[in-house]
Symmetry: C2
Amino acid sequence: MPELRKDPVLGRWIIIAKERGKRPTDFIISEPASKGGFCPLCPGNEKTTPPEVLGYGGPGRLPNTPGWTLRVVPNKYPALVIEGDVNKEGEGLYDKMNGIGAHEVIIETPNHEEFFTQLPFARMQDVFLAFRDRLVDLSRDERFKYVMLFKNHGRAAGASLEHSHSQLVALPILPRMIVSELAGSLSYYKYKERCVYCDIIRQENKEQSRLVCENEHFIVITPWAPRSPFEMWLLPKQHASSYITQTHDQFQALTRIFGEAMSRLEACIPNVPYNFVLHGAPLRSDPLRHYHWHFEIMPKLTNIAGFEWGSGFYINPTPPEDAARYLREVSLT
Amino acid sequence: MPELRKDPVLGRWIIIAKERGKRPTDFIISEPASKGGFCPLCPGNEKTTPPEVLGYGGPGRLPNTPGWTLRVVPNKYPALVIEGDVNKEGEGLYDKMNGIGAHEVIIETPNHEEFFTQLPFARMQDVFLAFRDRLVDLSRDERFKYVMLFKNHGRAAGASLEHSHSQLVALPILPRMIVSELAGSLSYYKYKERCVYCDIIRQENKEQSRLVCENEHFIVITPWAPRSPFEMWLLPKQHASSYITQTHDQFQALTRIFGEAMSRLEACIPNVPYNFVLHGAPLRSDPLRHYHWHFEIMPKLTNIAGFEWGSGFYINPTPPEDAARYLREVSLT
């Protein structure tokens, strides 16, 4: 079983995926995965993945058969496992817990050659709806406190399969990222009695210099203190702490603005590898006045990100005002 | 002038290196720098770097001429600049300060083809002595609160020049990494009245399972909750919060153990790209009972580190006990 371990100084939890058991030779610096060859995410290979937990497709389609447009399956090599109770334990001064959780793959398209950003509107919207469906379903499991929802695109950004997919990890603990955001935004709220993200939206709307694009429900900005060149944050204009309470209208607007932001990024930097991560309130949380759900989109520009990863200390060679201007002014074909 | 900017939610400071002004086309995914061609760090090219701030070499050598074995020069494209006073300012809800600081390059060898890990003992020791010399010198400047000392080896780890070098950045603020470590270790100290790192050393010595190597003054372990496969921490056995107070004996022992740990890592994973970072108390700090200086050595295994970088959430496929066993048992030729 995998194990969750806590750094005794920083309180940061790490998943040790023992089952993967990588040996030194597994890390010989490798070339990008070659095109062609067997793909477990392609139609016709449904039996090679664990049984699906969600599938969108034509009426009458049977689970784990072709005909789907989107499929969610447990990861065959999960970082965490679904069966068992959460047990916390010490080991001398260290803390650990058994690696209970869920690790799922959202297969965004049946077409191996189609990237997320190339999906037609309705099918990109399906991806965002699938995120909600899985969040709602997994929040029924009282063992889980948080679901990390993310996408790695491109090998430099950690994608090990070429076929377009995103992932989720349901966790029995709150990851450090969200703990820090909840604490920081609460402390701002206590002082100002306003949501810091709502204040950010107000200021960015007024200043315009870091604005990438917007529509009736969403705004995309390059953040004031970005870790990475061309980092973007996508925020709902109306205050909400959880992704799952969005209306039909909002999902449509989300799909449009996300598609536009990514098109702008790819027009600026062709073939850019990137990660995006959904930041939202913990599962089953009451609505929070101080916290505001959002996406963070991080291009992975390989010759930049080495040292920063190890130190938490970032040097960014592209001011966000410049990045936003490039993103706004690039021509979309 | 560069700018330091604070994330309004997390309190994380980022350096915006405006002068570098990277445009989208600067990020077209590039091949590793080709061998050959002009190298500004090679002997004979001393005039192409800013004037040196430290040079080791034969007696009678003039600064900025050949004959050196180690040279420290300001970075020609600094992330921070040395002239000016520190001014803090708000911009709406955001905080910034002008980018006062120092950014220096430690050229570890005159030989372009010689890697850090191939340096003979006396010259590797010179690198560690140069770290101390620069820390002592920069701590006289009251504007600086911390010096980040680090090495990027290999393009995947962020090295943009092939010629072996490390870097330092002197900062007018404490980076988040050190703020978190000081807070975490202080909270442990308040509860236990012991240094958490001293307790870690005691436990690792007793358990042996995460021990990589040790000598009379130092211990190298794979940490309990490592972010990366084959991550190593190198700690002095005797409690000390600052790197600069080491004795002659300790510098010799540091050189031996650092060389051994890196040889073990490279024997396990040939051509491994890596970063190491010195973690120590803030400049001019009184000796701290709760904090313990150390090096963190992070291999950069490219297909692992994408997503984690963006989310602060780590999945590590190699248990540190396995990594330590491989590192202990590998044959050193």
